[in-house]
Each structure stands twice: as structure tokens, then as C-alpha cells.
């Protein structure tokens, strides 16, 4: 799975290099196309879906035709309309887009949270979609789409990146949701031990500004419902005295899969001189 993810990343990096014609504006327009596709499905907009999907559209791996895809979307819309409180929450992120004047590839992660998961509990699933588009008659149309679920390695890799993004944005809700109730963290600066509530309080009280955080040397080991992720995290920004900061931390994160989802159980970082 890690190899597949790596291949996808390399494939799209190479595509961008080779074609080199896909401008930022093109990518923005293609991402908007993808969002419009989701909105059309959400709203049960048959006319919009008819325009978005090419007549010879195929959804993989189930070989779903354009007609079948639209009918499935309409059924989902009617179901959600009849029972809005049980509607799945869906979001897409981590976009990678490449294009030529007449073809485009859009790939993104999907996060689906259903209230009706295993045992009637809320549950979140992750997958990655790859859409192939062609410009026909001057407008983009989807000609095929493939989707695959992320395995545990993929989920944990994205969790580490999401964690960084949440830290940059000081998004306490991410920490609230993803730190296990019995989480323990050890501060990289003082070696003070933090519980989940102390970690959240520290996040809110911290006056430093993180402008960028990047991961490297990620190593993910999974054994059943536990995982250990080691790596290096580089943090750039301004400290609590408004001085520039740029440092690297070697970290060890322990994850457990509890209630059907991975949660951070322990984390410790050490500054690399």
C-alpha cells in the first residue's frame, strides 16, 4: 500500500513535470469542477451531473455507467432528504491535479463520516479518488473515476499530516477528536508530561505562531490495533517573543485503534540540535 501511495505521488509529480502546462488557474478551475461535482450529487442536480459526466463515463472498479452513476446519486439524494439527520458527512482534501490543454487528472482524499457505523456508532472512512477528465466541446467532462480505500498505513500517514495542519491552524477540535482520552504527551522543550486536557490547554495558551510544519523520515509500524510512527517534524514560525524559529524534532508517536478509528495514544518529541 505504501508503494501504491508512493507510485501515485511519483506519477503525479512526473505528470506535472512532463506536461508543465497546468497553471495554478487551471488547477483551481479543476478543483472547482470537482467541488461542483460533489455539490451536484448533494443537491440531486440531475442536469448538472449530466453535464459533468461524459456520455462514455465509467466508474471503477465496479464499471458503473453514466446513467447508473446519476441514478445512484439521485437515490442517495432522496434518501438523505427523507432522513437528513443520518446524512453522511463528506469532505475532500489533499488535492493533486495535473493537466494538458485537453486532459486532466484530479486526485484527492475523501473523508466520509457516517452516523450509522458499526454497532450504530459514528464511524469515519478514508479513501482516495482519481478522476480522469477530457475537454470536449470546450468544457471539462469526467470520463472515468477510480476510488480505493486507504489502508491503515495510508490513514496514519494522513493523520500525521493532518496533525501538523491542525497545529499550524491551532485547530483544537482536531486534537479533541484525535487524541485518545488517556493520551500522554511529553514536551520537547521541558519533558513535562501532558494529559489530553493539559495538551489542549497548552495549545490554546501557546503564543507562538507556526507558519509551516513539514514531515520527513516517516516510518510507520503497525501491529494489529497499535502503531508506532517515528519521524522528523520541522517547525517554522515565530516564538512567543515574536522571534523567528526554525527547528526540527525527532518524534515517536503511538497510536491505538479504539472504537474503530486510530487515535493518538502517546507522543514525545526531542529537538535535534
Amino acid at each position: 500500500m505504501k508503494n501504491i501511495l508512493l507510485m501515485i505521488v511519483v506519477m503525479f509529480a512526473l505528470a506535472g513535470y512532463t506536461f508543465g502546462e497546468c497553471s495554478a488557474a487551471d488547477r483551481k478551475a479543476l478543483e472547482a469542477f470537482d467541488h461542483a461535482w460533489s455539490v451536484a450529487g448533494d443537491n440531486g442536480d440531475r442536469a448538472a451531473l449530466t453535464n459533468i459526466l461524459a456520455d462514455d463515463y465509467v466508474g471503477l472498479p465496479a464499471m458503473i455507467s453514466k446513467t447508473q452513476n446519476i441514478e445512484d446519486a439521485m437515490r442517495a439524494f432522496e434518501r438523505n432528504k427523507a432522513n437528513p439527520q443520518n446524512r453522511d458527512q463528506f469532505s475532500s482534501d489533499n488535492y493533486m491535479i495535473s493537466c494538458t490543454p485537453s486532459t486532466a487528472t484530479i486526485t484527492h482524499r475523501n473523508v466520509v463520516t457516517t452516523k450509522d457505523g458499526t454497532g450504530g456508532k459514528e464511524e469515519t472512512f478514508y479513501s482516495r479518488s482519481v478522476h480522469f477528465l477530457e475537454k470536449r466541446g470546450g468544457k471539462w467532462q469526467a470520463v472515468s473515476s477510480a476510488n480505493h480505500g486507504l489502508d491503515d498505513y495510508g490513514v496514519l500517514m494522513y493523520m500525521e499530516h493532518d496533525w501538523n495542519n491542525a497545529y499550524v491552524k491551532r485547530d483544537a477540535s482536531w486534537f479533541e477528536r484525535n487524541l485518545a482520552a488517556d493520551y500522554s504527551g511529553v514536551s520537547s522543550g521541558t519533558a513535562r508530561i501532558y494529559s489530553k486536557s493539559a495538551e489542549l490547554a497548552e495549545l490554546k495558551a501557546d503564543k507562538s505562531v507556526t507558519e509551516w510544519a513539514g514531515l520527513s523520515e516517516l516510518n510507520i509500524r503497525i501491529d494489529g490495533n497499535t502503531a508506532i510512527v517515528t519521524g522528523i517534524n520541522q517547525i517554522k514560525g515565530r516564538d512567543d517573543k515574536n522571534q523567528p524559529m526554525d527547528y526540527r524534532l525527532r518524534f515517536t508517536d503511538s497510536f491505538i485503534k479504539r472504537d474503530g478509528r486510530w487515535q493518538v495514544w502517546a507522543s514525545q518529541g526531542t529537538r535535534i540540535p
Binding site: W37, S38, G41, G59, A62, I64, N69, D72, A73, R75, A76, D88, F90, N110, V112, T114, T118, F125, Y126, S127, S129, N147, H148, G149, D151, D152, D182, S184, V186, S187, S188, G189, T190, A191, R192, I193, R221, D223, G224, N225, T226, I228, T230, R248, R250, F251, T252, S254, I256, K257, R258, G260, W265, A266, S267, Q268, G269, T270, I272, P273
Partner: protein, 154 residues
């Protein structure tokens, strides 16, 4: 479209869900597991104090990774080799277990260590906080990862 994505994700996730563990419900078992992990930590401290590379080789899991207070990562082989060669040698080590948490066959312990290295060894003395992850393998608790940070000002 979203239903297809969801259905595929469910299909892929089901085997993991079926095999999903629950945390220990038997308090007696949990207590004895905690005691066993505490004992394993004690054995580790003794092996470190005695610079006993052979014992460390037995106590460290094969994939063991240790991150020290300089941020450098060491494998099991590198760690054991450092003790065998005398590059790493302690004069004394004391420890105090701050907490042990259990989740199935995994335990996470936070331990305070106070160390004094032997004269001439290129490592520094001090007080450290270590997060150690243990896994029960073939009925025996082995340390699979540990990271150590120096307590500020120590």
C-alpha cells in the same frame, strides 16, 4: 459517487473492524499485565545499570527504536553494540514509573530515569522522561520503542 466511495471504504475496513480489539475488561488480568510490564521495566533498568548487552538483546524487541535526548535514533543492533563496545556505559541508573497504560497486548509506560554515565563516556548525566512502548510477544513483554527527553534544567 459518494455512496460508492463509502461502500468501498466499508468493504476495506470491515476485516479490521471484525478483528478489532477491546481494551481489557478483566481487571485482575489488567493488574497482572501492569505488574508484568513494571517488572520488564525493572529488568531493563538493571540491564542498563549493569551494562549487560546480552540481557538488553533479550529485552529489546527486534524492531526496537530508541530516540535519545539529542534526537538521534538508534536501532536495537546499534544500541546493543554501543554497550558491547563500552561506548555507552552507566555508573548508575535509578528509575521511577510514572504511569502504565494497557491496550490489549500493548502497554505504554512513562518512566523517569536518573543516570550517571561512566567516566570517559561521551554521554551526559541527568534526569530524563522516557515514553516506552511495550508489546506482548509470545507471552513476554518486550520494549518496541522508547524516546527519552531531558528534564528542563537537569
Amino acid at each position: 459517487m459518494k455512496r460508492i466511495i463509502f461502500a468501498m471504504a466499508v468493504t476495506l475496513a470491515l476485516p479490521a473492524l471484525i478483528l478489532c480489539q477491546t481494551s481489557g475488561k478483566n481487571n485482575g488480568k489488567k493488574g497482572s499485565d501492569e505488574q508484568a510490564v513494571r517488572q520488564a521495566i525493572g529488568e531493563l533498568a538493571v540491564a542498563l545499570r549493569n551494562n549487560d548487552a546480552e540481557a538488553l538483546d533479550r529485552l529489546y524487541a527486534d524492531g526496537y527504536i530508541f530516540v535519545g535526548d539529542t534526537g538521534a535514533a538508534m536501532t536495537k543492533a546499534e544500541r546493543v553494540s554501543a554497550f558491547k563496545s563500552g561506548n555507552l556505559k552507566y555508573e548508575s541508573i535509578s528509575h521511577e514509573v510514572a504511569s502504565i497504560k494497557l491496550f490489549g497486548d500493548t502497554a505504554m509506560a512513562i518512566v523517569h530515569f536518573t543516570t550517571k554515565v561512566a567516566p570517559g563516556v561521551k554521554a551526559s548525566d541527568g534526569k530524563f522522561v522516557t515514553t516506552a512502548t511495550y508489546a506482548r510477544m509470545k507471552g513476554r513483554w518486550q520494549i518496541v520503542a522508547a524516546q527519552s527527553s531531558r528534564v528542563a534544567g537537569q
